[in-house]
């Protein structure tokens, strides 16, 4: 499955987010303009507190903007209610988190099946696990898997419904570099073979080298967008 590369998946304009933390106002995003295209692999780079997670949360329908708009294929996510956002996440978005967030009482296969059961045209859970190289570990519970394996189950769970977009927030943050590379390989393969628009958040500059575009964030603003002419395979990276 290959998407039309010129098609715009997300169009964000003047995106602003202000949190109230106790009695302090935090400006997490200060007017972001951004377009993301079908099938591309983008890395969002920035220090902690730069606003990259906030941006991804708004794109993924987990959070709403204070001002500005973000369109997903022409649908204004900033005007959607809880019900619409749940529907949107259910059918269009795959998430991968730093701490995996697997359901401890379900096996690897069942964690994936949890999502395929509510999706419209999913792949089989086993197929998804094979895609991340975990076919043989399908019947294991999270407590029986290593951190890297748990994260790959999370990736399988995210892609099994064939989402339009895959949003990964520090997917290697809790892993050692060797395991992190295995996880990045899985993400890169999914992007290549399924053509899923993939956004990876990281503060690790080296990981940017696998992306088509690298977007730098600082203090809630985009400071630089960089097209990566020489993409490298995850296996070639060291950090």
């Amino acid at each position: 499955m290959s998407a039309n590369r010129s098609e715009t998946v997300f169009r964000a304009r003047g995106l602003t987010k202000v949190y109230t933390m106790g009695e302090v106002e935090v400006h997490a995003l200060r007017g972001i303009d951004l377009d993301l295209y079908a099938g591309e692999l983008v890395v969002l780079l920035g220090a902690s507190g730069s606003g990259k997670s906030t941006l991804v949360n708004i794109l993924g329908g987990l959070d709403t903007a204070t001002a500005g708009n973000v369109f997903y294929h022409g649908t204004d996510l900033t005007r959607a209610g809880d019900r619409e956002l749940t529907e949107y996440r259910r059918h269009n978005v795959g998430f991968v988190f730093q701490f995996y967030n697997l359901i401890p009482s379900l096996t690897a296969l069942e964690n994936v099946a949890l999502v395929t059961e509510i999706a419209e045209r999913p792949m089989s859970p086993r197929e998804a696990l094979q895609l991340v190289g975990l076919g043989p570990r399908a019947e294991h519970f999270p407590s029986q898997l290593s951190g890297g394996e748990q994260q790959r189950v999370a990736i399988a769970r995210a892609i099994a419904k064939r989402p339009q977009v895959l949003l990964c927030d520090e997917p290697t943050g809790a892993l050692d570099s060797q395991t992190g590379i295995v996880v990045l390989e899985a993400l890169e393969r999914v992007n290549r073979e399924l053509g899923t628009t993939t956004v990876i958040i990281t503060h690790n500059v080296v990981q940017g080298e696998i992306a088509e575009r690298i977007i730098h964030l600082k203090d809630g603003q985009i400071t630089e967008t960089q097209r990566n002419e020489q993409r490298r395979a995850p296996g070639e990276l060291t950090w």
């Binding site: 749940t86 967030n101 359901i103 379900l106 949890l114 509510i118 519970f141």
Partner: protein, 787 residues
């Protein structure tokens, strides 16, 4: 305040929903305990004080007619202290503007001075003056029922002559705490009352000059009750003694003693269940709190707080809840106690009730609540102790799960992932799940028990007054009368049918066991008064032999086919051996039945009747009552409907109070257990549920996992609860049944349905309370933190 104690207050505040729910369970347990115990103590204390100050007798006897000299000889019996002879009589009363027949028990007062035994407490007015004729003091319950005051008039048929009586006083007596017509079980103060009059007039009217027909006595310290009663019996036998009996067998006293025993049983059982539930709830809440505060505990320990200090910290936290709960429960008990005491005063006529809260009861209640809380918390706090600081700093390892037994049996493919999560969570924490089920079941069971009493009482009425006693009116004669009197009654206008009966006092003996009862003879083809067998079918009375009610057969330890010695206690006393021909079911009172012919042969005074059961045309009831009251031979007229009414009004009011209180408390327990169980599940799973929300699960789908688990536990708990309820009902029926009441264990579908419904409503309520939190799950926060 020390900083660590400030943490206690803040932690409790942040868990206030759960704390309040547990607090309510403690309040319920403590208030039941304090109320019941303090009212029980109050009644005991008042009873003893009243008996002592108003000289309630230790023994009693009725005689046909004994000369005063016999009274003097009674005084000489070793072991007897004081003796007082009296003249008493059952009379018909007439009260202006009250059409129903009214019976009175007139008890004589000495000509000089006040009674030495069974003294009167004058509520109003004065004692009757021996110099003036026709003065009477009335029992307060009777006077109040008719609004009679000193100065009012009523008339009585005394010794066959209608006499006008003037009320001069309203009185109470330790003898009539429970004012009830002899032979009846339930008070009906409108239709039965006790009156006190001077002895002189009564002696003359009843041919008792220089004689007596009623005696009371007190025992010397250390005297053997049995010996004294035997001697009294022996002495009074020639005068038509009907058997002496001790205080324990005195109607009023035995009823209040039974009531006190019941109160004590309830005061023990209910709080035990409630405080156990509270202990369990505190246990799971503290366990969860310690898991959540794992890192805080590590920090406290790292900075030098000792293990003991940390454990004490959590124990203190539950003690705060327990002590506040106990104090609130005590405050509630002050109010409930005076309401309950008030209720008792309606049936038990004490002149005063010294209701106060004993310090020991309050201290015990606080200690019990505190003890339950500490036991509950200590089991969890132990885990906080055993945690090394460095280990506690690290996040807890992910919980291990496995596929459930159910799934391994091949049912796995039938469950979706959400259902698997539910099943595995329950199986992994099976102990907690089981205790939760038990807690909910306990609430359900208490409800069943509360409602059971209503079922039992309605069943008794249906059987007793629907199958066994079908007469409209019961007429008794002053003494055994020729059978032709029945034809006279049947000929009265409005009487459809008259059925004779013969009744007389006997002492039934089987070896060393004996019981004073009455034998009732009824026609073999009885239509109105029927004997029913244990399967509740009416049976024909056998032409020969004696049928005993189940309770009586148990007391005497005889079985059908065995012989029983029967001592006839009327007039000339003699003994015969009679075969027990069968056992009859009877819920109210005990009884012995024979065919009318057999009864008359045993009584030995020919073809006589003691009275008749009448089937009447209700349009003629008033007219018939007047006609019957005018007959000098008629001693009493009792309407069955009045009997049912008085029975139901006594039972209904008390029952309603208990049922409402029990339902309320059961609801509190159900709510406490379910709410806490859901809250803790939510706290344990908020991360999981938020993750699922992020993955695109709707609120409803996420609720299914959380509430499905609760629903499963509740559904499992209901049948268990109904079974526990049936058990508790049987237990309470067994422990509360007496000679007077035999309590059938009947439970209706309505009772089961209502109990289950209350549990379901509590579940729904807990769900609504928790769903708000479920909707506010922090989707982003959960992804940014580790477990």
């Amino acid at each position: 305040m020390k900083t660590i104690n400030i943490k206690i207050i803040r932690d409790l505040k942040s868990m206030r929903g759960q704390v309040i729910a547990i607090g309510f369970v403690i309040v319920a347990g403590v208030s039941v305990y304090v109320t019941m115990t303090s009212v029980s103590n109050t009644l005991q204390r008042t009873l003893q004080l009243y008996y002592a100050e108003y000289a309630f007798a230790d023994g009693f006897a009725s005689i046909r007619r004994a000369p005063n000299a016999a009274g003097e000889r009674l005084r000489e019996i070793a072991g007897i202290n004081e003796v007082e002879t009296r003249v008493s009589a059952i009379v018909n009363l007439e009260i202006a503007d009250f059409a129903d027949p009214v019976m009175g028990l007139i008890v004589s007062l000495p000509e000089e001075g006040r009674p030495q035994l069974n003294r009167l407490y004058m509520r109003q007015g004065r004692m009757p003056d021996p110099e003036r004729e026709g003065e009477a003091a009335l029992h307060e319950a009777f006077a109040r029922a008719h609004g009679l005051e000193p100065g009012d008039q009523l008339s009585a048929v005394i010794g066959g002559r209608r006499r006008a009586l003037t009320v001069v006083g309203i009185a109470l007596s330790p003898e009539f705490l429970y004012q009830v017509q002899p032979g009846s079980l339930f008070p009906d103060p409108e239709r039965f009352g006790v009156l006190w009059m001077s002895r002189g007039g009564l002696e003359a009217a009843y041919g008792m000059t220089g004689a007596f027909n009623d005696v009371s006595f007190t025992l010397a310290p250390g005297a053997s009750v049995r010996d004294v009663l035997d001697r009294v019996d022996l002495l009074l036998r020639p005068y038509g003694g009907q058997g002496a009996y001790a205080r324990a067998d005195h109607m009023s006293h035995s009823l209040i003693s039974e009531e006190l025993n019941q109160l004590e049983a309830v005061a023990f059982l209910l709080p035990l269940i409630m405080l156990s539930v509270a202990a369990f709830l505190l246990n799971i809440v503290v366990a969860r709190l310690i898991t959540l505060q794992r890192e805080q505990i590590a920090v406290l320990k790292a900075f030098g707080y000792s293990d003991l200090a940390v454990a004490t910290h959590y124990v203190k936290m539950v003690l705060v809840v327990a002590v506040f709960g106990a104090l609130a429960g005590t405050a509630l008990a002050v109010w409930m106690g005076s309401a309950l005491a008030e209720l008792y005063l309606e049936y038990f006529h004490f002149p005063f009730l010294d209701h106060r809260l004993d310090a020991t009861v309050v201290v015990t209640a606080v200690a019990l609540a505190g003890g339950a809380a500490v036991v509950g918390a200590a089991l969890s706090a132990r885990r906080a102790l055993s945690l090394a600081p460095a280990e506690a700093m690290r996040p807890a390892p992910p919980p291990s799960y496995r596929t459930t037994l159910l799934e391994r049996f091949g049912l796995r493919k039938h469950f979706d992932q959400s259902t698997r999560i539910i099943l595995r969570n329950i199986e992994r924490q099976w102990l907690k799940a089981s205790i939760t089920v038990l807690g909910i079941a306990a609430a359900c069971g208490i409800l069943v028990m509360g409602l059971f009493w209503g079922d039992a009482f309605r069943h008794i009425v249906r059987i007793q007054f629907g199958i066994a006693q079908r007469e409209d009116l019961t007429v008794t004669f002053t003494e055994p009368t020729s059978a032709s009197a029945i034809h006279e009654l049947a000929a009265l206008p409005g009487v459809h049918y008259a059925e004779p009966f013969r009744i007389f006092a006997v002492r039934l003996k089987n070896g060393h066991r004996w019981y004073d009862a009455a034998i009732e003879g009824i026609p073999v083809e009885a239509y109105l008064r029927r004997v029913i067998d244990p399967s509740l079918k009416p049976v024909q009375i056998p032409a020969h032999g004696l049928m005993l009610t189940t309770t009586l057969a148990e007391i005497l330890d005889v079985r059908p086919g065995e012989q029983l010695a029967v001592e006839v206690m009327t007039g000339r006393r003699y003994e015969r051996s009679v075969v027990v021909s069968g056992v009859a079911e009877q819920f109210l009172g005990v009884g012995a039945y024979m065919s009318l012919d057999a009864a008359n042969r045993l009584a030995g005074d020919g073809d006589a009747v003691s009275g008749a059961y009448l089937l009447i045309d209700s349009r003629y009831e008033q007219q018939l009552n007047r006609a019957l009251q005018d007959r000098p031979r008629v001693a009493s007229i009792t309407a069955r409907d009045r009997m049912v009414e008085s029975y139901m009004s006594v039972a209904a009011e008390t029952l309603l109070v208990f049922t409402v209180i029990l339902s309320l408390f059961a609801g509190v327990i159900a709510l406490g257990v379910i709410y806490n169980s859901v809250r803790i599940s939510l706290s344990e799973r908020d991360r999981e549920l938020a993750s699922m929300r992020v993955l695109g699960f709707t609120r409803g789908e996420v609720s299914y996992i959380l509430l499905g688990e609760t629903a499963l536990l509740v559904l499992a708990a209901i049948p268990v609860g109904l079974a526990i309820g049936a058990g508790l009902s049987a237990l309470s029926a067994q422990s509360l049944q007496t000679e007077m009441y035999r309590i059938p264990v009947v439970l209706t579908r309505g009772t089961f349905a209502l109990s289950a419904a209350v549990v379901l409503v509590s579940t729904l309520l807990s769900t609504v309370l928790v769903r708000r939190r479920l909707h506010r799950l922090d989707l982003i926060g959960v992804l940014k933190t580790r477990e």
